[in-house]
Symmetry: D3
Subunit: 160 residues, 6 copies
């Protein structure tokens, strides 16, 4: 039966030993989103024609956050990330607009990159919030979850 | 009219100049959550009697993340945080259980601590995900938003 | 007479004691540049119409580097930076093109922000190199220096 | 009566709220040491005439560690350190030699710099270990403690 | 004969070249301790029944410090740590109590993890100090040393 | 034809996927310099006889910066650096003196270490500036470029 893996014989947190795990190609995709009002949406999208738009900053933040994951998440193993790609898409809601954020992280390593993808997606959304909060502090970051994962001995995962 | 504040005369991102803003007492509270299945809920809560439970780790991660906010969020000003408190509460859903995460950050500074509170809440939820993902990768981090904010010249904010 | 200030009575490096220095408004502007060939110049500038151009990434990198300065430069005091602005301009050389990078950093603190401005300018140039090096590894980062400085008891500095 | 201050009403760790504490001049001195064999002692001290001796590296490491303290120690407040000075002295033991490490950190802030001084002293000793471990892995880092502290409303402390 | 390995032909510090070293399974265990008075001992141990005790925080700090070692110790190689486990045990002294801290770090890499184990043990002890210093600033961190090491071409080490 | 590699199908920056690249021995050497006046030159060089000279600090800063490169340069892959060596040489100009800085970085990895060498050289020069700026703020950091590179499928590079 599956069990918590992050506790030692004293019942205390530990970083799980992955020394014997095989290196393999691994990939994980995480999803987050942020809902903004029409005024912010127009500001961001009209700004896309300019040189340093909100999404460009958010994206750099997301990629850098993927590299900082093991510094942020205590029991996370440091992993040599081999690629990060972030995709944005706008979804029109009734009155508001929702920015869809999908982050794919890849590695050739001994453990998965789920946390790297989730952290990057979160920081991406947080950065959009930061850059638009002078206009509206009521923006909401939507559900954040793992969409897909492949590689590793536990096989693939796809959110249904 | 309100406008994007993070862009310079070249249309590029900048860190807003707050040199002339007065220092004042500021506080911000952010909310996040994570929904876990019954088995994980029982694992976490029965574990609370032990010495190093999941929530203790998540909480340390959240507090440390508050201090790392300006490293994570590109246009965020570095701020000398003067206090962080994280509160947890479990909510029973139909089949699942949802951990409520409420983070309050305080400072005496020239700009608000909304991003610090939001970042801490996100990293808190991400850490719970990390420590339970061996049991279920389908956990979902819920909506993340600013609940309250006080201090600063723009006045208070309360999510309605 | 002026003297090296970073050495203690044992002749070893120390972080200079600024406890008694007054806080004041301070500003520093630093200059750097990078010379690229025509093909890279066209790639960067035509790309400006797209959403995530080279300069947008370089600029975020520069701003984040300003905040990391005291982690990079051993004897540098940690300072609460209150604003960073980076300006780009292209200069046509005979065959090549030179990106002018001018970074202004502000603070209200007990020591100057010269190192923050210089570090940001350097990292900005390094990031352009990184993003274009697949096209040409022969790019050269130009002279990097302090252009202006104001505030503090030693008065202003302007490069002549 | 004195009590643990780092726990909230849920019995969980928090970063203590110092928003209302007055800024004052504060200073803390911490002591550590490392005992090395004669061969290492001679290597280090004869090396002092060269350009990049072991102690110079240890000292830079200690100063940089003082600045990283709030990133290392979870409940530590970020503080704008205003000065760091590290003093070394050799003590001859029967057969071995002991490097005395004394670090003084200063700030003008709302909380003390005891942890900054202690962290710097520890990292200083660890760095000496690192640079000499190819010669002997049996070196021992000695007792590490706070020697003096001044400033703040709780008054001064001197180790007797 | 063994020699200092961290100096280049100019007599200056360098990061030793390990490019040609074979990757192998490596493990290192380091020991530290902290002596606290009876009142603190009782506070910590009675608190163990609560949710976020002092040792839980210290442990997270130690694990995160292991991952930060190459950022703290200048000549240390960055290593992909594959596991960290920290064990605590209380020893009763005459009047005081001493917390024994034993940290084991593992990797599959080209160089050992002695520094990672030593750094984690030190930061663990420093964190206990931080969380109890409101009660007594006279606590002493005890001797810190390498207990065991295995793997690598130089063979095993056990402190006698 | 060569193309920008750091953009995804949305025209946004990404971290290039190197998952399938072979690990190989790689080396990169970068050059920078800083020109100082006679008084600073004499201060630095006479100081070399002491224990903690300017260049020793600059060198530690450069080595630590090489390890921080992927945190500084947004699209840079984290790489396990296996060696760093920094060489200094003084060149006499008409009135001034120019410190030549040459940094060689090595790795056994899936991507090159050009950025690590360039970042280390830049931070080295910036650190000299920091430690001498009390004497003269007019120092100029000279051209910074890649001198050599070997390893990897694109073959070697030597600046002509």
């Amino acid at each position: 039966m599956s069990e918590f893996t992050h506790f030692n014989n004293q019942g205390r947190a530990k970083m799980v030993d992955i020394t014997d795990k095989q290196e393999s190609h691994r990939s994980a995709t995480a999803h987050s989103s942020i809902t903004v009002n029409k005024s912010i949406y127009q500001g961001i999208t009209s700004n896309q024609m300019k040189k340093g738009d909100v999404l460009a900053v958010a994206q750099v933040a997301g990629i850098m956050a993927a590299k900082q994951t093991s510094t942020l998440i205590p029991m996370c193993h440091p992993i040599p990330i081999s690629g990060v790609d972030i995709q944005f898409e706008w979804l029109q809601l009734k009155e508001d607009h929702q920015l869809q954020i999908d982050v794919t992280v890849k590695t050739k390593g001994s453990t998965g990159v789920e946390m790297e993808a989730l952290s990057a997606a979160s920081v991406c959304a947080l950065t959009v919030y930061d850059m638009c909060k002078a206009l509206d502090k009521g923006m909401v970051i939507g559900q954040t979850y793992l969409s897909h994962k492949s590689g590793g001995k536990n096989g693939d995962f796809s959110r249904t």
